[in-house]
């Protein structure tokens, strides 16, 4: 510990004077830049199925929580919440992502496509009609997920083979094991969309 004696005081004062003399103006000019502040809360617009919707969320909020809890679009189901099942898939700018495993801030301002955008009870998408006929949805928990991923596949490729469908839908688990029906649905829906087949 430093003692406040006259001698020490003079020493320190002298040092101060020499420093000022050497450094000159730079002593006063050096101002530390402000520390960056992290984001914990945000408010952003999500363009869900063409509709701009505003939500406020924390940094830790996942996209599924925004879509289903904050905005009330409950068609997208969350099952495992660990990116291990695929039930929660949505399209962000046309690319499939697991919404339970994407932070909401990643999708802020982007175009999101959920199962609600595919079709409703009065106006079913061919994928839903064919899937209904083939019983591709047993319990229906995984349906919202694979339907949008299949839509993304059909947007790119209107003539997918069964193997292409299998590799595109590899990230979806169906607890009822309706896999063969799902693959058949997507392959035959492509035929309907091409105009080569008709739903009776």
């Amino acid at each position: 510990m430093m003692r406040y004696s006259r001698r020490n005081f003079l020493k320190a004062a002298g040092a101060g004077i020499t420093l000022t003399a050497i450094e000159g103006e730079s002593l006063f000019a050096a101002v530390a830049p402000p520390l960056p502040t992290p984001i914990t809360k945000e408010r952003a617009t999500f363009i869900i199925n063409g509709k701009p919707l505003v939500a406020e969320y924390e940094a830790r909020t996942t996209l599924w929580e925004v879509i289903a809890v904050k905005l009330g679009l409950t068609g997208t189901t969350r099952s495992c919440n660990r990116a291990s099942c695929g039930a929660c898939s949505v399209l962000i700018d046309g690319t499939p992502f697991y919404s339970c495993h994407t932070l909401a801030m990643e999708a802020a301002g982007k175009k999101i496509f959920t199962i609600e955008g595919l079709g409703d009870e009065k106006n079913l998408h061919p994928l839903q009609k064919v899937g209904y006929l083939y019983m591709a949805a047993d319990c229906g928990f995984c349906t919202a997920g694979w339907s949008v991923t299949a839509k993304a596949l059909l947007d790119k490729n209107l003539n997918p083979s069964a193997d292409e469908v299998k590799s595109a839908l590899a990230g979806h688990i169906c607890r009822c094991a309706a896999y063969s029906a799902i693959v058949r649905t997507v392959v035959d829906t492509a035929a309907v969309l091409r105009g080569e087949a008709e739903i009776i």
């Binding site: 960056p36 992290p38 914990t40 940094a59 990116a83 695929g86 992502f97 697991y98 979806h172």
Partner: protein
């Protein structure tokens, strides 16, 4: 999920400043496929501060350099690598390996840098058990159920296998990585980058990247004439899973004589396991299906399997054989 605060730097220097400010309480956030699970399960390594480096815009590219090699930015998505025409032309084996990683949706989200530096996928660690990596003093994998993702080649503290598929493939291609550190850029080979369970900054991790360092680029040297490579992987479900065992082979051929060989096994040890004894055996021999049948007898003689995972060694040997057969017949 654990409460987090997110920084969005626009330059690497800024990102390093933010990482240095919080020490090991901050982590780089890119694709988040691995990090979010750590946050959701509230593991001890789950950071409270994320540094989102996706706003740094010069880290996502695949480009050819003057010598004919390829540079891949660390933020390049795995899906972009899988669909890249340039890589498919030059290194078809890397594209084949990346196509086998995880599921299509996760490949859309996860980055190459994140795949190289991912945390192990031991069920005990991910389930929140207090193991070596999670603040405890025991490896549950070594004494418990180790039939899937635990080392069959021994271990130091943590017995979980290194789960990545890109790393063995890149070792075969002799790739290097560039790190941005506070004291300047650093270049490492992939083997130096992921040497198995290491104590770094007071934590056990598979890689040597410190808390304030950022992986920026993967550099692959130009493909040589006569270089043939293959990647084989076994998964419990055939898709989506991590490798039970994988074998990436690279052969430098003159006519059908093997001049140089690289044999790297993945999913059997805490690091991508380079098997020098098979490499030495293959050198100077003529590539044929007979050689493919002989090669596994020299492989993995120093294996030390745990109670339930001796099959991993058989899988790795089988993959070595089928990989060599494919190279011999094609």
């Amino acid at each position: 999920m654990k409460k987090i605060s997110v920084y969005r730097p626009t330059t690497i220097e800024e990102a390093q400043q933010m990482l240095s400010m919080h020490g090991t309480d901050a982590a780089v956030y890119a694709g988040g496929t691995d990090l979010l699970i750590r946050l959701k399960n509230r593991l001890k390594q789950a950071p409270a501060y994320l540094v989102d480096i996706k706003k740094i815009n010069n880290l996502r590219y695949i480009k050819e350099d003057a010598q004919g090699g390829v540079q891949i930015g660390a933020l390049t998505k795995l899906a972009e690598i899988a669909e890249s025409d340039l890589l498919a032309k030059k290194y078809p084996m890397l594209v084949q390996a990346v196509k086998m990683i995880s599921s299509p949706e996760l490949r859309n989200a996860s980055t190459l840098g994140g795949d190289l530096l991912q945390e192990v996928w031991c069920q005990y660690l991910r389930g929140g058990y207090a193991c070596w990596r999670n603040g405890g003093y025991i490896c549950y994998g070594a004494i418990g159920d180790n039939s899937y993702y635990h080392s069959a080649m021994g271990g130091r503290l943590c017995y979980a296998v290194y789960p990545g598929d890109a790393a063995p493939a890149l070792i075969t291609l002799d790739a290097k990585v560039k790190l941005a550190t506070p004291s300047g850029a650093k270049e490492l080979t992939i083997e130096q980058l992921v040497p198995g369970d290491m104590m770094v900054d007071g934590r056990i991790q598979s890689h040597v990247v410190r808390f304030n360092e950022i992986l920026t680029e993967v550099v692959i040297p130009p493909p040589k004439a006569g270089f043939r490579a293959s990647f084989e992987k076994l998964r419990p479900r055939g898709v989506w899973d991590f490798a039970m065992a994988s074998a990436s082979l690279g052969l430098q051929l003159r006519d059908r004589t093997i001049e140089d060989a690289r044999v790297v096994f993945g999913g059997i040890a805490g690091r991508p396991w380079r098997e020098k004894s098979v490499e030495d055996f293959l050198k100077g021999k003529t590539l044929s299906t007979d050689l493919a049948a002989q090669a596994p007898t020299n492989a993995l003689s120093n294996a030390a399997p745990l109670k339930y995972n001796a099959t991993k060694i058989d899988m790795a040997k089988g993959l070595l054989m089928s990989g060599l057969e494919k190279l011999a017949t094609s």
